[in-house]
């Protein structure tokens, strides 16, 4: 799953390394670290925002390790997007309200359009787009693609989905 975490570090050297250690110890995949030096808390601590991917059963261990080393874990937000998918769309993608298409996927709560690349050759010619979708699980990914296909049907778009890789 994907976890986003807010920490508060003491303003002394070596704290960031200390904060990242548990994540790497449990083979987490670090996605981003934002160090808010400028936003010191009233207690003189430095807020840090971490995003990483981790096997869900390791999350509790990471939190305990952090707390043991004196780092305060302010909030933990699990976004469990384990599945990454890609599809291609062909048709009048923009004119059929691309925002609506994306919102419908995002509003499911179990899947999200995380990237979009659009190629529009000429006015009146169909455009093509590649969409990256993240979803909570394989089943949710299939559900998201089915939803996308039903939206595409209404909007006369062609959806090209990946073969099932066994």
């Amino acid at each position: 799953m994907r976890v986003s975490m807010d920490l508060e570090l003491k303003d002394i050297p070596g704290q960031l390394v200390l904060a990242l250690k548990p994540v790497s110890e449990f083979k987490g995949n670090l996605i981003s670290v934002v160090h808010h030096h400028e936003k010191k808390t009233p207690r003189g601590k430095i807020p840090v925002h971490l995003v990483f991917e981790i096997k869900s059963d390791h999350l509790d261990n990471i939190i305990s390790l952090l707390e043991e080393s004196g780092i305060s874990v302010v909030s933990v937000d699990e976004k469990r997007y384990l599945e990454h998918g890609a599809v291609i769309l062909i048709g009048h993608i923009v004119h059929t309200d691309i925002k609506d298409t994306i919102d419908k996927i995002d509003n499911t709560g179990y899947a999200e359009v995380v990237d979009l690349n659009l190629a529009m050759p000429r006015i009146n010619r169909p455009s093509s787009a590649s969409l990256k979708i993240d979803a909570v699980s394989k089943q949710h990914m299939s559900a998201a693609i089915e939803l996308l296909k039903s939206i595409a049907k209404e909007k006369d778009l062609l959806v090209i989905e990946p073969i099932c890789v066994n």
Binding site: G91, A119, P121, P126, S128, L158, I160, I163, C164, N166
Partner: protein
């Protein structure tokens, strides 16, 4: 030595390929105890009939020079109904709306207890159950390896070589014309229409390409696979089909940038039969280019098996017909 008297009904690319292969492999066939004698050949307007055996070499050159295989006006169907022989090699054009003359010919053969080896998809994609029931009730063999995937062993692989395995699913590229067009669109970053025209120029696509590019050909093959390998009872109308005519070069590039090719994929599993353009990872065994065909079958014991080969061509398709003939008469 078993003497098998055969007719070749339909003398186009495939029928002529069969004649060439039979000439080539005569000694080999004898060595395994089969003396195959072609006693009649028919095309759309003419025929040659000779109970002593038609001279295949002169039939081939006559067809090449005059466009007619013989001077007889008896039709292929009449040959089946009136001339004594054991095997009908049915290679007339595919008709997916009615089954066409191929269906009439096959039924006529079974009525007389004759065996049929065919490359004609129409009758089987349309009326698989009826055709096989007719063959069974007259004790005839009906083999059709050439209908699916040309030279690639599909039916016989699943039914003979992998006997005992349960087939879980099959997916693949079953149409060389579509594969060619999509591969070239990617290479040249050119629109569909342009690469279709190139394929037509090269004789890879027909003048009326709709049968291939709309996915109808792939769907017909899947129906035959579903019925013969997966034990289903479906017809062409049960397949959801999307062709390749809407694919753009931009879509191919975007897919490529994400590590995918776009291929027209046919898939069969217990819940659906489906033909549609799909994203295939560039490193996946199904990502073959040019006019090649390929398929993967998932089995319960042997796991996945993938075969690549030429899905069409005169001699290639004749190879599948020959293997069916040997399969029937070897023992």
């Amino acid at each position: 030595m078993k003497t098998i008297r055969a007719s070749i009904i339909g003398f186009g690319a495939v029928g002529r390929g069969v004649a060439k292969v039979l000439l080539d492999k005569r000694d080999y066939l004898r060595s395994i105890g089969i003396d195959l004698k072609v006693i009649a050949i028919a095309d759309s307007r003419t025929a040659v009939v000779d109970s002593q055996g038609v001279d295949l070499a002169s039939a081939l050159s006559r067809k090449k020079e005059t466009g007619a295989v013989g001077s007889d006006t008896i039709s292929g169907t009449e040959i089946i109904r009136t001339v004594d022989h054991e095997l009908v090699i049915e290679t007339t054009p595919t008709n997916i709306e009615t089954g066409g003359v191929g269906l009439v010919n096959m039924m006529a053969a079974f009525e007389r207890g004759m065996d049929v080896v065919t490359s004609n998809k129409g009758p089987l994609a349309l009326k698989y159950g009826e055709v096989m029931a007719a063959a069974k009730s007259s004790g005839s063999h009906c083999r059709f390896e050439a209908t699916v995937g040309g030279a690639m062993p599909v039916i016989n692989l699943a039914c003979d070589v992998l006997a005992g395995n349960r087939m879980i699913s099959m997916e693949g590229i079953f149409n060389g014309t579509c594969n060619y067009i999509l591969s070239r669109m990617m290479e040249e970053q050119a629109p569909y229409e342009q690469m279709l025209a190139e394929a037509q120029e090269l004789g890879i696509a027909e003048k009326d390409p709709s049968y291939d590019v709309e996915g109808i050909d792939t769907a017909s093959k899947l129906v035959i696979v579903a019925n013969s390998i997966f034990g289903m009872n479906v017809s062409y109308k049960d397949v959801t089909v999307t062709g390749i005519t809407r694919i753009t070069p931009e879509a191919l590039s975007l897919a490529n940038a994400d590590g995918f090719a776009i291929k027209l994929i046919g898939e069969v599993n217990d819940s659906n039969i489906n033909v549609a353009p799909k994203l295939v990872p560039l490193s996946h065994p199904l990502a073959v280019g040019g006019t090649l065909n390929v398929f993967s079958v998932q089995t319960d014991l042997a796991g996945p098996i993938t075969i690549t080969g030429r899905g069409a061509g005169s001699i290639e398709t004749a190879s599948a017909i020959l293997s069916d003939i040997i399969g029937i008469y070897r023992n």
